[in-house]
């Protein structure tokens, strides 16, 4: 069944798909977004249920292999040290993301020039800065201006409370003379733009029923639907179609909610399916012209997969830390060890993140992002009575460097519910990252003790957190060289002139910060470039 053609077809209604749609809406082009998931209504979020913690291990798990909902696709990560996690629906992974909102540093765009590793981005921080600001205003970002780890900017809203836990750790960093700053967050510290402020519920991963967290289901999508952008849900794209003569994308084939396969034609195709979903879709779009997958003449589609490998150090203090109160991942962030230092046994750096603490069930099951059950018996009692209420920790979030051997490919056997081949992840944590982790754990321990910790109770073992593949980057990277990159400096495929990619897969390096503020700034930037080049877009 063929549908009426559109000007712009966006695949994926998550963070990046929403941002580029917003950028393009003023062009009055006919914009359609196809999203494999449904609308997830805030009345249905688990945080409104009494036994909300159970949903973290079933239908609201961040792991699609656990959720197994009809809109999810399985991911074979048996060859990986980290499993990718996500959410599929209107809002994408911003439905269950934690809203931590740091920006990349200027040096992140120049890793080759400054440190001789990875590649440089074809754009720089200054180019993205106005788009970061624009996105912060739309999303409603809270934070404290003047962070000396960045060129000056001020978030639109004051910071959220850092709470007892944040204040305690901040004193430790001050004691050592190390950098720390209240986290920038995509969470409202005040009522803003018709949305209510955060109520410190602490279960941001279970959907923010208050609407205080800047998921695109609360920020961009209501505006976009009002502005006439068509959003077709429960529509899973199986393949992007190509005209073998012109080499242009002509549209897509997708599975609709009626169980039928439909063809949708479009002038411009924008892929926004996340760092795993995007290479999967391109690799599934084979043709005579592109036998190895669409837009893959460079062979770089699915290569250079980057996460942010991480581990944590936990300590106990004399007083209760009330860690379950307040946004889950966001209190304070130290970037003391972010920039390269030639005296260390690794290049690039990491952040020390202080999230809050978690709810009792998740604590008993080993914490968020890990699977390591607490002991039973007398030890269990001790942990819960003497440790849990008094706990605070630091997470070591490292920069991952791009490696061609870390990949997303297609699994030969595994498919989703529509029979479309599923992604397979092969990923190994590098020696450089391990050195960072060891360094970071020792520094985290120092900071916690300086903050008055009574005892260090848990450290990362020789493993990184398994279920912490929250950030998926690099698998269709940007670049000026068509032999070494998939898209150019403004997100357009080198090989297919009307195909754009806007999600984290176009990152060249990962930095050591959560990526979504950059993903959305980039999507707004790509949208702007499309508008500026509209007269000769396909040259």
């Amino acid at each position: 069944m063929t549908k009426e053609p559109v000007d712009v077809l966006i695949i994926g209604a998550g963070a990046s798909g929403a941002a580029i749609a917003w950028s393009l809406v003023e062009t009055r082009m006919r914009i359609l977004c196809l999203e494999q998931g449904p609308h997830v209504h805030d009345q249905d979020y688990p945080s409104r249920n009494t036994s909300y913690e159970l949903n973290r291990y079933s239908d609201f798990s961040c792991d699609p292999n656990v959720r197994q909902l009809p809109q999810d696709y399985p991911i074979n990560s048996t060859g990986s040290e980290i499993t990718p996690v996500n959410f599929n629906g209107v809002g994408g992974s911003t439905i269950n993301f934690l809203g931590h909102w740091p920006r990349l540093h200027p040096s992140d765009f120049r890793a080759r020039a400054l440190d001789g590793v990875a590649e440089d981005w074809p754009i720089d921080y200054a180019t993205l800065a106005p788009f970061y600001d624009m996105n912060d205003r739309i999303t409603g970002v809270s934070g404290l201006g003047g962070n000396p780890a960045y060129p000056h900017y001020t978030p639109p809203l004051p910071p959220i409370p850092i709470g007892k836990l944040g204040q305690t750790l901040a004193r430790g960093f001050n004691e050592l003379g190390w950098h720390w700053w209240p986290s920038d967050v995509a969470i409202l510290s005040e009522d803003y733009d018709g949305r209510a402020k955060c109520v410190n519920a602490g279960t941001c991963d279970l959907g923010c029923a208050a609407g205080a967290k800047g998921g695109t289901n609360f920020t961009y999508w209501p505006m976009l639907e009002n502005a006439g952008v068509e959003l077709r849900t429960e529509c899973r794209v199986r393949e992007i179609l190509i005209d073998e003569e012109t080499g242009f994308a002509t549209g897509v084939l997708y599975h609709g909610p009626d169980g039928q396969v439909h063809e949708q034609r479009a002038e411009i195709v924008v892929v926004a399916c996340n760092g795993v979903g995007t290479p999967r879709l391109l690799l599934n779009s084979k043709s005579k012209l592109f036998p190895d997958g669409l837009a893959n003449r460079s062979g770089q589609v699915g290569k250079n997969l980057m996460f942010h490998p991480l581990t944590g150090v936990t300590a106990t203090f004399d007083e209760p830390m009330e860690g379950f109160k307040g946004p889950m991942a966001c209190s304070i962030l130290s970037q003391e060890f972010y920039e390269s230092d030639p005296n260390r046994d690794f290049v690039r750096g990491y952040g020390l993140h202080s999230g809050r603490y978690t709810t009792p069930m998740t604590y008993a099951l080993g914490g968020y992002g890990t699977d390591s059950l607490l002991p039973w018996g007398k030890e269990h009692r001790q942990v819960f009575d003497q440790q849990y209420p008094y706990s605070a920790g630091l997470t070591v979030v490292t920069e991952d460097l791009p490696e061609e051997t870390n990949t997303v490919t297609l699994d030969p056997d595994l498919t989703d519910s529509d029979g479309i081949p599923a992604p397979k992840i092969d990923y190994t944590v590098s020696e450089n990252t391990w050195n960072m982790i060891r360094h970071g754990e020792a520094r985290a321990e120092e900071a916690l003790l300086a903050a008055g910790a009574r005892k260090i109770v848990a450290k990362g073992s020789d493993k990184v957190w398994w279920r912490a593949g929250w950030h998926q980057m690099g698998t269709c990277r940007m670049g000026n060289d068509p032999e070494r990159s998939v898209v150019n400096g403004w997100g357009r495929s080198h090989d297919v002139k009307n195909l754009f990619i806007v999600d984290g897969s176009i990152f060249v390096t990962a930095g050591a910060v959560n990526p979504t503020s950059t993903i959305q700034a980039l999507a707004l930037y790509v949208g702007d470039c499309i508008k500026n080049n509209i007269a000769n877009l396909f040259d």
């Binding site: 945080s47 409104r48 249920n49 009494t50 036994s51 909300y52 913690e53 159970l54 540093h105 200027p106 040096s107 765009f109 020039a113 400054l114 720089d124 404290l144 003047g146 000396p148 780890a149 960045y150 060129p151 004051p158 959220i160 409370p161 709470g163 204040q167 004193r171 960093f173 001050n174 950098h179 700053w181 510290s189 109520v199 410190n200 519920a201 602490g202 279960t203 279970l206 923010c208 029923a209 208050a210 009330e322 379950f324 109160k325 970037q335 920039e339 709810t359 009792p360 069930m361 008993a364 099951l365 059950l373 039973w376 018996g377 007398k378 269990h380 009692r381 819960f384 009575d385 209420p389």
Partner: protein, 160 residues
């Protein structure tokens, strides 16, 4: 030992399971914290067994194993002395590791999902939304004072 039907434990199984749960999460009488061997956690495990046949099978085998071990030690599990009971559960953990890990996971989930247990650790018994928790915002003066040493050190990023 046979369970009568899906998710229903027979009397002998129920006894062994209750004793195991009491060992897994013991009570803290000083703070009125109950053990996991209560009707609510048992009912959660029954619900799991009713929907997950493989858990039910593994549980049936594991509970029979525990009963045998207790018989070898001289009685029923709840009749052994405290040290003997702990030793027996350790033994079960060694010889039935897969079952034991699954039991542990489900026990933690069943026990801590109960609102009244959450409340014993300072959390609200209610859903987290819409009320949430009250956390005072720090004043501008307080934050300026706290961040002053960081600001004083000056820029720490590499300009490029």
């Amino acid at each position: 030992m046979e369970t009568d039907q899906k998710g229903k434990w027979n009397g002998a199984e129920l006894k062994v399971l209750t004793s195991l749960l009491e060992q897994i999460i013991p009570a803290n009488p000083d703070r009125n914290i109950p053990s996991a061997g209560t009707a609510e956690t048992l009912s959660y495990l029954s619900d799991i067994a009713a929907t997950d046949g493989s858990f039910q099978q593994a549980a049936r085998r594991g509970l029979a194993r525990a009963a045998d071990l207790a018989a070898n030690a001289g009685g029923e599990l709840d009749q052994l002395d405290a040290d003997q009971r702990v030793a027996l559960v350790r033994q079960l953990e060694t010889i039935e590791p897969a079952f034991f890990e699954t039991l542990l996971r489900h026990t933690y989930m069943g026990y801590y999902s109960r609102p009244e247990i959450r409340a014993l650790f300072g959390l609200s018994a209610k859903p987290t939304q819409p009320e949430g928790y009250s956390v005072a915002a720090e004043s501008i003066e307080f934050m300026s004072e706290m961040t002053e040493p960081v600001v004083r050190r000056g820029r720490i990023f590499r300009p490029c």
